[in-house]
Symmetry: C2
Subunit: 152 residues, 2 copies
């Protein structure tokens, strides 16, 4: 069910990004705020982080962290172009989906890699599922901002 909730948000984000021509991604969600391009790279990088955090494999988009996670928009750091990021957004979600499909229900209740076994004993709710719920909210949060562009 948490995965279904995640997939719905990804689908909504897909619909938004697909509706944009490449030039539009340089627009800000509100005057002086993040550009669509920045949020696109930000979401790819943050979501991709679940791969290593869950010990599923090697992250694919660590190279986006500098410009899209560690630094704010308009940092002057180089960013991939719109067409590239839109393509990678799709690809990154396909990759995550494939990993998530392999996980059992029990896997979601195990600890993630920035925790110790003791951390999980102290707080059993702090597990992979909690990270997915958190990332889903994070996606919804930025989707709300992006949808301002779409007139919602």
């Amino acid at each position: 069910m948490a995965l279904k909730s995640w997939n719905i948000q990804v689908k909504n984000a897909n619909a938004f990004f697909d509706s944009l021509d490449d030039a539009s991604v340089n627009r800000e969600v509100a005057p002086g705020k993040n550009t669509i391009l920045y949020l696109l790279g930000h979401l790819i990088a943050v979501n991709d982080g679940m791969i290593s955090l869950f010990g599923l494999g090697e992250r694919q988009y660590a190279y986006l962290d500098e410009a899209f996670v560690k630094n704010p928009d308009k940092s002057g750091l180089q960013m991939p172009d719109a067409a590239t990021l839109k393509r990678e957004w799709r690809k990154s979600n396909d990759t995550l989906s494939a990993y998530f499909d392999e996980m059992t229900a029990d896997d979601w209740f195990t600890r993630h890699n920035s925790m110790t076994d003791q951390d999980l004993i102290n707080d059993p709710g702090r597990n992979k599922l909690s990270v997915l719920l958190n990332r889903t909210n994070h996606l919804s949060y930025h989707l709300g901002q992006l949808m301002l562009i779409a007139g919602k």
Copy 2:
């Protein structure tokens, strides 16, 4: 865990609404978009809907639906003032918390009131927990918009 995720978003929203003086709630989250006042009433009304949907009791804020759910902002319909809505936001969350505290883990996997027993058999994931996850995303979505005002 889904409740924890919900509570985190409510806490974040509290922090935002508490930071505002009453005059600021008339600001739009972006030019031409919803005002903070509208989103505040919208969130109270939508979240309050879970009380009747889950069969927990009688909704407290059905009177907000007309101005804040069924109609867009700037409809000309009368709206309570900022101080009232900020107070009711707090109160509505206290009420929801008290109801949620009474629910057992199993309760979350039962059907809600806009479904039949057969609906739940056809799609067991369509239950109260799925509604809570959906409302959590909805809150995050609008919180992302509100936080534009706070410079995030």
